[in-house]
């Protein structure tokens, strides 16, 4: 957070000048500028933190704001040279989708971070011990159903689940919550009903299927999971702090941390949205089995917010309802953005094992629910 207080004075100065300048220049020029910013950013980043860490070991404290300031200055100074190199519509649409995913997800991320900080600081662990059944096998479905109360998309549920684990909730129950919350809350179900006006059973199928998969994953974790796979980042300092101080430091840490992974996921999703061809979908739709697999993979790659994915699914008119259901169940549980955020919150070892298992379980759940209900 030293970043903020120290970099703020030099930061806004270049910013305030740039948009004014960019407005007067023409469209193509702005793009070059964009790409340039992109490049400089990428070139500088590896150097930045490493340099920061090294000088920190020497005991110099002002480095991370300094690096940020240098970075901003470099971007402003070197905007010219790559003009025209990347003024392609691919880059433009990449940038737009990238920024859109981040802007759209940040409010939900902040909501989740606030909630998780509140859980971590103000709710005593004994509360969860009383609220959840003591037997983990029973706690799983209860936690899964509790997902109904978290209104928002999947970005909010990752930090909240992280806080639950730190607060002593059985990981199995926290996992059930993590998976069910983005898919079965009222906002998402309403959106699904609106997107499928002629197939109301779709809402029921989504609710049932998601809950089923969430519980299955919870129980699976309980049977096979090992605690050393799960590494929740230790919040180092809690003694000698006031509650407000702990609250804000938790908010800050989670935002910076999960936010960074969110950016990583957004970059991947934007790349696929801008580059992947849409034509192969048409050929995939012909075969029912391939169709389900194709839409599941698509859900992972697109990383659409769970509040909006129903509309996208509805527009994939050439696919069967079961394939669309797979899209709706897989999407909120595992996608590129979520994978990056889970890797950040629970550790890479966890995410690497958890993601494929969830993917398989979600597809199985979708097929099962689809066979029964649709």
């Amino acid at each position: 957070m030293a970043i903020t207080e120290k970099a703020a004075p030099p930061g806004p100065a270049p910013h305030d000048e740039r948009p004014g300048g960019a407005d007067t220049t023409e469209h193509a020029e702005r793009t070059d500028h964009a790409d340039h910013a992109e490049r400089t950013g990428r070139a500088d980043r590896p150097a930045g933190p490493v340099g920061a860490a090294r000088s920190e070991q020497e005991g110099w404290h002002l480095n991370s704001p300094l690096v940020l300031t240098l970075l901003l200055l470099l971007v402003v100074v070197f905007q010219g040279p790559v003009r025209g190199a990347l003024a392609k519509p691919v880059m433009q649409s990449w940038m737009t989708v990238f920024v859109a995913v981040v802007v759209q997800a940040l409010p939900f991320l902040v909501l989740g971070v606030l909630l998780s900080a509140a859980i971590a600081v103000f709710v005593p662990p004994s509360f969860f011990a009383r609220a959840l059944p003591s037997r983990p096998a029973l706690a799983v479905p209860v936690a899964g159903l509790a997902g109904v109360v978290l209104p928002g998309c999947e970005c909010a549920s990752v930090p909240v689940a992280g806080a639950l684990v730190r607060r002593g909730v059985t990981p199995a129950a926290a996992i059930a919550f993590l998976l069910s919350a983005p898919a079965i809350n009222p906002i998402v179900l309403t959106a699904t009903a609106v997107a499928f006006p002629r197939d109301p059973e779709m809402v029921l199928a989504r609710f049932g299927g998601s809950l089923l998969v969430a519980c299955a994953m919870g129980w699976l974790w309980q049977r096979l999971g090992r605690t050393d796979w799960l590494r929740t980042p230790a919040h180092a300092h809690h003694e000698g702090e006031t509650r407000m101080e702990a609250f804000w430091s938790s908010v800050r840490h989670d935002t910076m941390h999960a936010g960074g992974f969110l950016v990583l996921g957004a970059m991947a999703a934007a790349t696929l949205k801008a580059v992947a061809p849409a034509e192969w979908l048409r050929t995939a739709a012909a075969n029912p089995v391939v169709a389900i697999l194709a839409l599941s993979v698509l859900a992972v790659l697109l990383s659409i917010c769970s509040e909006a994915d129903a509309f996208v699914a509805a527009s994939l008119t050439q696919f069967s309802l079961t394939a669309k259901l797979a899209f709706l169940i897989v999407g909120p549980m595992i996608d590129l953005k979520l994978f990056a955020m889970q890797a950040g919150t629970f550790g890479r070892g966890f995410a690497l094992r958890f993601a494929p298992a969830t993917f398989a379980a979600a597809i199985a759940g979708a097929v099962l629910t689809g066979a029964v209900l649709l």
């Binding site: 948009p19 793009t31 992109e38 920024v99 940040l106 840490h253 849409a278 917010c305």
Partner: protein
Amino acid sequence: MFLVGAALLHAGLTDLYLRYVKAGLQPLILAAGAVLIVAALATAWYEWRARTRTRTTSGDDHTHDHDQTHDHDQTHDHDQTHDHAHPEPRISWLLVLPLLALILVAPPALGSYSAVRAGTALQQPYGYMKLPKSDPIPINLVDYAGRAVYDHGRSFGGRSVRITGFVALDKSGAPYLVRMALNCCAADAQPVKVALTGKIPPVLQPDAWLQVTGTYTARVTHDPVNNGPIPYLNVTQAKPIPVPSDPYDESWNN
């Protein structure tokens, strides 16, 4: 983090955010921006206070921090070893990227490139609102497409319509007027296309916004990408207009 909050506020207070997300998210974006700024200020204040405190007492909590370095995961050792001095993890440097993109560049809303690559997302409307009595009828592009395909243009009663959208040319060079329909953010934006026929302007620049007046024709084609229906509009007049403040169609959000 202060910068991210400020950037969010900036985007939320101007119409910039409309290029990326739906209008309904504005209060959330503003709230998130405010929270981030408050969090930044709070941390700054606590850090300042902690520093003045450690100057008077001798800070021994660094030993405590070093106990936490039980793994040497690249992304984490930084924030865990130096938790008190500089708590931001290395991964959070990525947050600088969208910041630069948003403030310095402000990428434009999705245009013809994305529109041509995706199939038309026209869906059958649940019902039709009453149209104004004027001639030409000012009507939403998505609304026109819905009425033309599923209502066979009955509600127009032979009057002409006026629609707004941007130009996109497909591989064969056929012109379409397109509006991207949005549900949440630009990542889920999908095009709704209307093909143009009749008095088309001789030079069509992709991504140029046009206000087109024309009459309904029964002709319907199918999108080569997803086989969705694309109605035609018989153009009588077209004039260029500036990009509207909300470039997306949000009629599905209600």
